[in-house]
Amino acid sequence: MNNINGLIALLLFPSGLFIMAGGLAYQWIDRKLVAQLQNRIGPRWFQPFADVVKLLVKEEVIPEGANPWLFQAMPILALASALTAVLYVPMFGLRAAYSFPGDLIVTVYLMSVLTISIALAGTNTLTRFSLVGATRALTQLFCYEAPFLLALLGPAIAAGSWQIGEIAAYAGKNWWMIITQPVGFFIAMVGLMGKLELPPFDAPEAETEIVAGALTEYSGRGYALFRLAQGVELIVGLTLISLFYLGGISNPLFFIVKTLCLLFILAALQALLTRLRIDQTVGLWWRFIAVLGLLQFLAIAIFATWRWIG
């Protein structure tokens, strides 16, 4: 019986079909918001769904020189890991399907698998655009990963737990951490943009230089799966940030309101900023954001130690 529940959790709700649809819906909202900010009309509500359905029925072309097994496995790995991450995060104000002490680390790890599988998929093909894109994606991964983790550890230390559910409960009872740890919130948001390769961190898929970056050779099913995985990751990221920094999520209404607020900020930043060159991205992260993150982390650590002694 337990196994069936687990399967349902993975395939239907909260993970699986439901979250995939949610991810597409959020992608649509993001695109629509950016379009509105840019004085365009933007796509209709079903556009991302239509895209995915169309891509799924298209033939998948496996380019010469690529390892076919790896080529097909990468999108599946990306989507599977993103969906697995959902199981440990309390979605829609409900309890997480699975929860154990330390699930935060597992979730962050699972979220990185997307970037790594995109980069591997890129290096697997022989296209030059893919190779440059994959190199850039990996370079960028090394930039945002550490600060992003630091930004999520801040609330964890404040709550004294590595369990997402407990941190969320702590966040719900105390001051919103966007006020007590504004730097962490900022880094988490920017880190999420980096993870999702949104402008200004879209150098890995800068179409005017390297076409579609690492995914240039992907068409059909593989590409659709990557798109779905990105949608899922968008929701997971937004949920995590709302959980930690916006005072937790106690019911579905709060979930929608808070994540949409964050999405609006993301869209505004995308519309406002110019793409950074990859060297500029690295410089920005290591010279500026990482230092900020460390300082904040140090402050929290001292505060927590002091409280522990006291």
């Binding site: 440059v132 793409r275 060159r277």
Partner: protein
Amino acid sequence: MHTSEHREQFIVPIGPQHPALKEPGHFEFTVDGETVTAASARLGYAHRGIEKACEQRTWVQNLYLFERVCGICSHIHATCYAAAVEKLAGVEAPPRAQAIREVVAELERIHSHLLWLGVAAHEAGFDTLFMYTWRDRETVMDLLEVITGNRVNYSANILGGVKNDITPEQSAEVLKGLDFLEKRIQHYLHVVQNDEFFLQRTRGIGVTTKEMAERLGIVGPTARASGVARDVRVDSPYIAYPQFPVNMMVEESGDLEARTVIRIKELTESCRVIRQILENMPEGEIETKMPRRIKEGEVLMRVEAPRGELWYFVKSNGGEKPERVHVRTPTIPNMASVVALAVGHQLADIPMILAGIDPCFSCQDRAVIVNYAKGGHDHWTWEDLRRYGIEYYRKQRRV
């Protein structure tokens, strides 16, 4: 995996079809990591054989042919040709016609520069600016439609004058449109000079020194951004520019920022001069009669297209058709600068550097082929091509 001792050359091809290029061209950039170490260009993908084709058409037919050298700067091509033929024939178009030509030419410059600004912003990954400039470009295109009836390929010229007059109502509408545009242009000038993220992609990138610009013979806004004071409208005023002069804009730094700023400043100047002409429009006829045969002779007509100096060398042997027309478009000398500049820059800067000169492949490639058949070596004439086109579509319809 390769284990050879040699460092493999890693070449990133840009083109013939590539998102960074709005038209076909082919460039190969050899990169070491992200840094470009060598560059080469292959042109000709938009080559249509216009220079040869015009030798087989009458003077009047050619006006429409040359208007189609380029979609964006169609008016200036037609104006240059018309002015050259008028000079050959010893006919002078009436002042009102010349003034209307200048109005359309300057509107076209606004259209072209706004389009360029959008493309440059897109290459830099600043899509919001791209969308806004192209929205405002619609306004200019609408104004052009008000005057000429067309949004692209305005067809304002005829030999010896212009086709349509500008009525006071049309003039009022254009002035109203200019009010809006001037406000937007000021805003864009502010944005490109103050947006930190955009400046990171433009300031100090692709610097062309004055010495280099002079040596390479660069023309137009690209040259003026490097401090070379070269503008045919000022140096050798044509059509109505003697009566309604423009001021030359010059920037010193020669980087992409200067190229952006100079084009936006030229927009302000264009708006000013259009306003001046519309408010002081000369009265009179808009066309004079042209002879069918043009006197024997040669004329070199230079004009300032939005992208820089454009000239037509027209030779007549006294017949109904030109003996030779040579078109030198501004992109050719400017293109040489791209290949020279690319080396040493980051791959990410290349689309910006390429776009920085505002390349126009159709202009540049224009001239000569009459197409060649698949597989075989027999040439296709225009007639064959036309027939092929008709046959092709007939077949398509049948299927």
